[in-house]
Amino acid sequence: METPATIDRQAAAPTTRPRLGVRGWTMLIVLAVLAIAPYLLFKAGHGFYLDVATRAVILSIAAVGLNFILGYGGMISFGHAAYLGIGAYSVGIPAYYGVYDGLVHFPLAIAASALFALLTGAVCLRTRGVYFIMITMAFAQMVYYAFVSLEEYGGDDGLVINARSRLPVIDLESNIQLYYLSFVSLVALLYVVHRIVNSRFGMVVQGSKGNDERMRAIGYHTYVYRLVAYVISGAICGYAGALLANFSSFISPEMTYWTRSGELIFMVILGGTGSLFGPVLGAVGFLALEEILSSFTVYWPFLFGVILIMVVLFARRGIDSLLGPRDGHG
């Protein structure tokens, strides 16, 4: 027999565990395809496309990192390419001095990005709306010009990295192993972001997106929570930057240019802001569109622009909105 207490408990918990649904299946299928992508590509004789797939997975990581603050926290950073650059230079500069240890590169990339996010975020998060967009962009441009001025590391021209990061067990000189490191990182990241978004911390970040004044009125010092979220986001993109440097064996200031930040935002919007998997769909969709459109015409960026406008006008939540309405549970 049900006592009143058990009834309460049922009402208090979101009915049953949410079932997988279209959205969940899409995620599983896309991840499954990505998991066997190298096999499929070589089988089909298009081994070259492994490069595209690797880029897509690495940029997915960055897009998930950006979406964490943009989609869930309402912080539209127009400067996230800076973290890709900082992460990449954290691989390139040690390599220039002959330090190839991945256990130096990756922690350094994460720490340097987190530190930069902390320092700049502390300033940026005092502003809102358009000002926030502009100031994040300004900081990223500062990074760009700082890298340009580093003559020792190639300045404008950038720097070729002679060997990829050395890690225990795996060998990143193998393109397939680099792909799988990126892919496993992405899957782990999705799980971690899923946990954070639904945790108490995640609820505070989402609340301050919806209504910051109300959050303060019920007792949250939202600034601190937003800053921590910003640092997490920067660290994720820094990690993606370290992967990117390994992938291209080359670093240059161009990685941090403001158009790069714009591309990251485009990926997030294309996929659907504020959904866990949307940014991955966006990054994959972005690179697929780039490949397809550029094979038709050299004016492909123009077509790209048209598509972006269409997405913003007709599919507010991007590709994710094709997967049906979302309930209140992120």
Binding site: A11, T15, Q206
Partner: protein, 250 residues
Amino acid sequence: MAEPILEVRDLRKSFGGVRAVDGFALSVSEFETHAVIGPNGAGKTTLIAQLSGMLKPDSGAIRFRGRDITEVPAHRRSRLGLARSFQITSVFRDMTVIDNVALAIQAHAGHSFRFWMPARRDPDLTEPALQMLREVDLAERAHDLASALSHGEQRQLEIAMALATSPAMLLLDEPMAGMGPEESRRMVETLQRLKGEKTMLLVEHDMDVVFALADTITVMVDGRVIASGPPQAIRSDEHVRRAYLGEEGG
């Protein structure tokens, strides 16, 4: 007499040349329901903003529970036990009703740097949230999006969120704003239930509500107090009749 729970002295705030609040004073004792009334533009909204910490006064002092809170930021006032509801409904529209309340409970359940366990399945948050919703008759809508609630229900939710911070005192900024008669009746019932249990400062337009609920009424005109006292005294006060009640026919 015991020390008042909230005491405001000589509060001032100007915007450019306009003196919105101009030497306002107020004293609210514990468990009292105190209403501030006044015509449009009297400075009531500015007053609430200063009491809740969203606006900094130019001068004057606010004491709450024996402590000077004039310089204390909004989020810390909430922690000291001063809760606020908003004139323009201010709920988290993209979240479910229960999430709204749980978020308010969470604000007062230690820090929120907890990154791993799902907040929506934490009975320490969901159970008191549901209890709170029952108190304002919204338990059945717990899992609907807040944006799906009617205006009146959103106002009820607004109160539930303020209550969820277990405040010593509620600042209610026009709780009846924009409500139909039926919705107003429900809200008055809710407030009637809270009366005597919580100290309330009510800023309200609706005269029937004010005279039905308040123990003390302070009349604010041009940023200043022109009268303060029990409802009967206010009703018969000459200044008030001339400055305010007469015009609105209350």
